[in-house]
Amino acid sequence: MDVVQLQRQLVDYKASLYNEAILDEQFTQLQELQDENNPDFVVEVVSLFFEDSERLLNELTKALEQQNIDFKRVDAHVHQLKGSSSSIGAQRVQKVCIAFRNCCEEQNVQGCLICLQQVKNEYSLVKTKLETMFKLEQQILAAGGSIPV
């Protein structure tokens, strides 16, 4: 494929991510932090996020399967997840986390389970989207082009 076309595709794709409110301005800032000294910064942080989130989601799933749910623990996990997601700008995940924490506070088991499902959905969505984006970027780089800002 043509590099320019790829670049345009990437720009459009990014814009769609912002438009669908999957990512927010924080992600832009994250990208700004990436420079020659730190060329893989975004990928690095995002994969950290994936790693961390998957761990947390597993923990959450386990915690919510218990007979007596330790809401404090659940809350702490959700808090972590919220922090990470807001740091990379995954705002939809972040928003569900807020609702999740409210459910925790109310000790609403049903709500928590629903939220967990939503978080998982949002997480997998943002993960797919980001992975697609990185793939596009790699394609551009492989084609010898530069990543448009």
Binding site: E25, Q29, N37, V45, K82, S84, S87, I88, R101
Partner: protein
């Protein structure tokens, strides 16, 4: 994380509210006994009633006792008198008896006959007032009866006046007082009473009394007194028989007891009040009445009995007294008691109502308190809401600002750049505004504290407006620049909002200067020249900036002209000028903002400083705004120790003026300020010459001033023609002396003069051989249409138009573009903050503590971008380990919410560790006291929370500041600059 924090904050507020409710529930004694109040009242009434009844009784008893005493004394007195008079009479009768004995029996023949007796007794009757009469009866035994009857010539008769039947003895009356002459010849022994009396008298030899009976003649109750008369002297102790034997006769007198007592009582006081009875009580079972009526009414309750002794031991008498009337009701006692009762009742009632009132007031108080707590809770909720909203607004705003920053990095025309910059400034202002709204709450809570840092007054005003006096600039002032700027922004913002035409005029001068002349020298005038509408021809011109009338005439153009003239003459010298009173500690600045807007309606003028109060509801509809600005402004001005006031005339305009007290900063920082200012403005325009063409002198003066600040020599011409002619003249005679490099033409002047003169002028120059360097022509305008711009370009103006209001940096940028001097883009300037940040952070070793690895990585990345060496810790404990002394970290960024040990706790421990180490060290060194705390690693909290309360908490546990997460350049710079600047000072 931010949200979590907010929530917990909220929760703690709720708890506090509950506690408040709990503690305020303390009721007073009255409150707790409220149900008992009516019962208390009833008890009290009963108590008072009992007391008053008792009182009444005691007074009544006293009265009764007195009454009794009076009665008994009266009765005794009467009895005594009666007795005395009686005994006097008895003595007289006794004397009579002796008289009879002496002259009738011891003389022979008798010296007394009836006539003598009657006469004597009549003449001595005054001696016996009690006796109706006296008579003497001779003892006649039956054997001597005939002889006696013969001797006297009458027969002895019985009481019934019949000839007496035969008896053993007779006692016919032989002598009698005239008053009782009817009893002469009557046998006294024939009456039962008299006979008994006679027998008793002769047996005892004493005066004896009969029981009371109706006297003959008067029919009054009376008694008869009988004395025995003996013929011969009796032996010393005579027996009864001897006495009877010796008896010659009997002297008797009738006591008219009734008239006697009547007389007696008549002589005494209080006769009417009492009833007196006299009884013969010889027979104790049957009292015989001697005086008074038997069955009398009268006060039967009170009776006094006095003994009477009439000298007859056989008979007993007594006097009884009682009041005529029953004891009168004691009105005084009754009224006194009743009044007491009434007073007691009233007192009880008053206490009752008072208690009720207290109860009611307390109820109301509690209700109010609850309402207050609710209101406060609502207020807290409001603040929370504002904080949340502002937090939510921040995120998209950051996006906007980021985009603008990106936009500014691209290649833009100066106009586009200006627009983008303006948009960025506005966005920042919006975020500032959100913080200001939060400030308002903080001011209300009295928690706002002002900074005291040296600042440059001019640069602040420059941001808001554009020009400042050299003089004021030189006066180093110390205060809170952000807040000062906020005040002016608010006032000018309002002015701009409400002004459709005319001008906005900001003036700053020293309030401490006394004389107006001096005042004017220190004054600074600025021309915002917001929207200078086209003046209607023929409209009245006022001597103000725009020619429109202003509300406060003191700010007239006269003083401004004075100032401008002054400025001109003093401009060069002013740099070295110092103000005379530089020694004083404080500087009071007086700032006034004048506009020619719609003014404030008179009725609304007294509430303009109240929050959320606009002149009327249509104001916010037409002009927008929340109405919070002026109230914040007022609070801030007061915090700065000043006052704010305004003069406003509807449809004319308003002039707000305020004073603010600032500290004077030290020389060192003062020169620093100066230096930095010098750096700020590019110096590559020095020595250039310019002509300003403007019909309005004030506006021209302002333009001139801006250019002067850039070091450009300026001439002013009121029209193009004048400019052309003067420069033409100059050009021809003095050649290079007044060859302008730039010609700045005000749009109005250009339009009015049309380009006729202008093109002529250009032509003139060309002809005069100045072709080698044509002056650049720049248009000055407040607003300009595209058509006008095209036209201007056609007329030979440069592409760039200088838009008003002017600011020195903007003018410089435009000139650079026009003249082609300097770089077109100055990234260094643009990214000033970021480069400074880089210089601050470069090479610094910084510890980032966050339990969230993504966050940690992002923060580290951001700091690394500015050249810092970053190390990470994933918990408070790990941070503590890394910060064990000695360490080489220059600063620490700490997440607040972490499991196990949160940021606050970790900071506390770090500080503890440091203070221990410092103590040890100070203990060893023990010298310069200025060296306080060798170890103090700056700790900055990382939080997404924008609430100021968080900041307070951060400071409380020993942190040095906080940065909002995610990092923002300016915010980071502010936080970092504070302690990286402070460090060298403490090392001095």
């Amino acid at each position: 994380m931010g949200l979590k924090f907010q929530q917990s904050h909220h929760h703690s507020v709720a708890v506090k509210v509950n506690e408040q409710m709990g503690t305020k529930r303390g009721y007073t004694v009255i409150q707790s006994k409220r149900a008992w109040l009516p019962k208390f009242l009833l008890l009290w009434v009963i108590f008072v009633a009992i007391i008053s009844i008792r009182w009444y009784k005691s007074m009544d008893d006293e009265n009764k006792v007195r009454r009794e005493e009076v009665l008994s004394s009266m009765c005794d007195q009467r009895a005594r008198m009666l007795q005395d008079q009686f005994s006097v009479s008895v003595n007289h009768v006794h004397a009579l008896a002796i008289l009879v004995s002496t002259f009738h029996y011891l003389k022979n023949p008798s010296a007394i006959d009836q006539e003598t007796f009657a006469e004597y007794t009549a003449r001595t009757s005054f001696e016996r007032p009690l006796l109706s009469g006296v008579a003497y009866a001779e003892r006649v035994v039956h054997s001597e009866r005939e002889k006696f009857e013969r001797q006297h010539g009458w027969t002895i008769k019985t009481m019934e006046r019949e000839p007496s039947p035969i008896r053993d003895e007779y006692a016919p009356v032989i002598f009698s007082q005239e008053t009782v002459s009817y009893i002469e010849s009557l046998d006294m022994m024939s009456g039962e009473e008299d006979r008994e009396n006679i027998l008793r008298a002769r047996a005892t030899g004493k005066a004896v009394l009969t029981s009371p009976f109706r006297l003959l003649g008067s029919h009054h109750l009376g008694v008869v007194l009988t004395f025995p008369v003996y013929k011969s002297k009796l032996p010393p102790k005579p027996t009864v028989e001897e006495r009877i034997e010796a008896t010659a006769g009997y002297l008797g007198g009738a006591f008219d007891v009734e008239s006697l007592v009547e007389n007696l009582l008549g002589q005494l006081d209080g006769n009417q009040a009492i009833l007196v009875n006299v009884y013969d009580i010889t027979n104790s079972s049957d009292h015989l009445i001697m005086y008074g009526l038997e069955n009398q009414d009268g006060d039967m309750a009170l009776l006094h009995v006095s003994k009477l002794d009439f000298g007859d031991p056989f008979r007993k008498h007594q006097m009884t007294c009682r009041y005529h009337q029953k004891a009168p009701t004691s009105w005084s006692a009754l009224t006194t008691a009743f009044l007491f009762f009434v007073i007691g009742l009233l007192v009880g009632y008053i206490l009752f109502t008072a208690a009720n009132h207290i109860v009611k007031v307390e109820d109301d108080f509690h209700k109010m308190q609850e309402l207050k707590v609710k209101a406060e809770a609502a207020d807290v909720a409001k603040s929370q809401f504002l904080a949340t909203v502002s937090h939510e607004i921040r995120t998209p705003m950051n996006g906007i600002l980021g985009m603008l920053a990106l936009l500014l990095d691209t290649d833009l025309s100066s106009t586009q750049r200006d627009y983008a910059q303006t948009a960025q400034v506005c966005g920042k202002a919006l975020i500032a505004l959100i913080n200001e709204v939060l400030d308002r709450a903080k001011i209300e809570a009295g928690k706002l504290e002002l900074e005291a840092v040296p600042f440059d007054l001019r640069s602040i005003l420059d941001d808001v407006l554009s020009l400042f006096s050299e003089k004021s600039r030189n006066k180093g002032v110390e205060g809170d620049p952000g807040r000062f700027r906020q005040i002016i922004t608010n006032l000018v913002g309002n002015s701009v909002k409400f002004t459709e035409r005319g001008h906005i005029f900001v003036k700053v001068h020293l309030a401490e200067s006394t004389k107006p002349a001096v005042d004017a020298k220190a004054e600074t005038c600025l021309n915002g020249g917001s929207e200078e509408g086209v003046l209607k021809p023929g409209a009245r011109q006022f001597k103000t900036l725009s020619g429109y009338e202003a509300a406060d005439e003191r700010n007239s153009w006269d003083s401004f002209k004075h100032l401008v003239a002054d400025e001109e003459s003093r401009y060069d010298a002013s740099i070295n000028m110092t103000v005379a009173d530089e020694t004083s500690e404080n500087v009071t600045l007086m700032v006034s903002v004048e506009d020619t807007g719609i003014g404030i309606p008179l009725i609304a003028q007294d509430r303009v400083f109240m929050p959320f109060m606009q002149a009327d509801s249509s104001t916010s509809r037409n002009y927008g705004g929340t109405g919070i600005g002026l109230s914040i402004t007022k609070c801030l001005v007061e915090l700065m120790g000043g006052h704010i006031s305004f003069i406003s005339r509807p449809q004319v305009g308003s002039t707000f003026s305020f004073t603010a007290v600032f500290g004077r900063c030290k020389k060192t920082s003062f020169t620093d300020t100066k230096k930095s200012k010098a750096e700020e403005l590019p110096s590559n325009f020095r020595g250039l010459k310019a002509v300003v063409v403007d019909g309005k002198p004030v506006r021209a003066a302002v333009t001139k001033y801006h250019l002067k600040r850039l070091g450009i020599l300026v001439e002013v011409a009121s029209s193009v023609k004048i400019a052309a002619s003067s420069s033409g003249k100059n050009g021809s005679s003095h050649g290079s002396k007044m060859q302008p490099d730039i010609i700045l033409v005000e749009k109005d002047s250009w339009l009015s003069g049309e380009d006729g003169g202008l093109s002529l002028w250009m032509l003139d120059w060309k002809q005069n051989g100045h072709v080698f360097k044509l002056p650049k022509m720049i248009l000055l305008a407040t607003n300009i249409t595209n058509a006008e711009l095209e036209k201007a370009k056609a007329a030979g103006f440069a592409d760039t138009t200088i838009m008003k209001p002017m600011r020195a940096s903007m003018v410089a940028a435009c000139l650079q573009q026009v003249l082609g001097t300097g770089k077109k883009r100055q990234p260094g300037n643009m990214l000033n903050g970021s480069s400074v940040l880089r210089s601050l952070l470069c090479g610094k070793k910084i510890l980032v503590v966050d339990d969230n690895m993504v966050n940690r990585r992002v923060a580290a990345g951001a700091l690394k971008k500015f050249g810092a060496a970053v190390e990470c810790a994933d918990s408070g404990k790990a941070a503590l380990k890394l910060l064990q002394l000695p360490h080489s970290f220059d600063a620490c960024f700490m997440d607040i919410q972490m499991p196990e040990m949160d940021g606050f706790e970790a900071t506390r421990r770090i500080r503890m560790m440091e203070s221990q180490a410092n103590e040890q060290m100070n203990g060893c060194v023990e010298e310069g006291s200025a060296r306080k705390g060798e170890w103090h690693v700056p700790i900055l909290a990382m939080t997404a929370d924008v609430i100021h309360a968080t900041y307070d908490k951060c400071l409380k546990c020993g942190m040095d500041g906080y940065v909002s997460k995610p990092f923002e350049e300016e915010n980071l710079y502010q936080a970092v600059a504070k302690f990286f600047q402070a460090k060298p000072i403490s090392d001095l």
